[in-house]
Symmetry: C2
Subunit: 147 residues, 2 copies
DNA sequence: GTGATTGCAAAGCGTTTGCACCGTA
DNA sequence: TACGGTGCAAACGCTTTGCAATCAC
């Protein structure tokens, strides 16, 4: 990812935190830095290990607490995969459908589905009232497919 | 769920186990019994508690090991939800799309989506090679929507 | 009889909580 | 200065592992 995009992401997150009366601490900044630079689903422990290269004092607990706050603000979202539901990704774009590389965890987004019709049909047939949906694709990204 | 359906499910599971050279033990039978009677996503601990009413000697570890085997045989599948990925459901029907009640965990299946076109488009645009997909709807079942 | 399966205890892992200290606003 | 935020240690809940006893075939 290019430096400009990373910088934009960091700024965006920083502003959202400030707006919501969260303090900008060294710990939070370094967690945000790691998240901003990541194109992949990343676990709290991975964030911890990477972030400590910049800020050795960081505690794993703080990573969890920062993720919790970012999740509340819908700035990150938890990623569910068949074998692992412990990772997070940057969630700037509102509701998006995910395309996940099952090898390296790289994340792409896509849209343009048209499942509203389907949802209406299923509601009618099942009697359920549908509030939310997940549409996720799993596979190999261009890099990983080469190997 | 009617008794006949439950009985059919149990028979189906029992045969699959036998075919695959798994022994039919008391522990396995009682776990299967609980699963067969459940219309909802159910956790290992819930299975354990229910099954022990029939077979007090049962250990939680055996529930886990039985689920592992049933999962290998694709007879149960793990259910992923935003807040909880610890539950399982009966998975007779091959690849199915899920409709989950977020209140009581009741599960319905639906099909008739047509996402092959979407997948082809996303593959072309992203460079990913897609192998699998999840399409899940979350909401309230008829019962829970009433309240 | 033999080897798969069981249950127990203990370890493992990811996550949360309690608490005294620290640092941002 | 005040109080939100931090890091440590310890607890927690779910899951897996090691092992001797058991039981289906």
């Amino acid at each position: 990812m290019d430096t400009e995009t990373i910088e934009k992401r960091k700024q965006f997150w920083t502003e959202r935190l400030r707006e919501n009366d969260y303090r900008l601490t060294a710990a939070r900044c370094v967690v945000i830095e790691v998240l901003a630079a990541s194109e992949c689903a990343i676990t709290p422990t991975e964030i911890y290990d990477l972030a400590r290269q910049e800020y050795e004092k960081l505690g794993l607990v703080t990573v969890y607490r920062t993720l919790e706050k970012l999740e509340d603000l819908e700035l990150v979202m938890r990623v569910h995969r068949p074998d692992n539901c412990h990772a997070f990704i940057a969630g700037f774009e509102g509701h998006q459908h995910l395309l996940l590389c099952r090898r390296c965890g790289r994340v792409a987004y896509f849209s343009g589905d048209n499942i509203d019709n389907l949802i209406q049909r299923v509601e009618k047939e099942s009697g359920y009232k549908v509030h939310d949906h997940w549409l996720q694709l799993f596979g190999l990204c261009e890099e990983c497919a080469k190997e």
